[in-house]
Point group: C2
């Protein structure tokens, strides 16, 4: 089994938190000021998302930024 990539791990975390809140991708994107397609790409592990957008997603999910990384090494 190949190791889970950093981008996939982050994407799964975003999707899980979004689902917990009952947000659609579109709703999360709008709250974060990002494009829906971009958020979809992040969730699929296709995007090497940068710092400022990471912080936007944390705010949109109402959690401290560090809590996006609880599954990380």
């Amino acid at each position: 089994m190949p190791p889970t990539s950093i981008k996939s791990r982050f994407g799964s975390r975003i999707r899980s938190l979004r689902d917990d809140r009952g947000f659609s991708q579109e709703e999360l994107a709008e709250r974060a000021g990002l494009h829906r397609n971009y958020v979809g790409g992040v969730e699929r592990g296709e995007r090497n998302i940068a710092l400022e957008n990471i912080v936007k997603l944390a705010k949109a999910l109402s959690i401290p930024t560090r809590d996006l990384f609880t599954d990380f090494p």
Copy 2:
């Protein structure tokens, strides 16, 4: 006083952790597999560093990725 930007906040955190460990910028860069000039730019808050490099810096500093974000909203 202008609010501290996200990039500057992250850069200060990296510099502080690097100093704690007694690493030079060059040493940290080498451990992380990044260029010294790039690490300098991150520390100065000039770079919107992306996920994969954030994780590389955390590993090079021997801390969990989430601990890079203790000062963050």
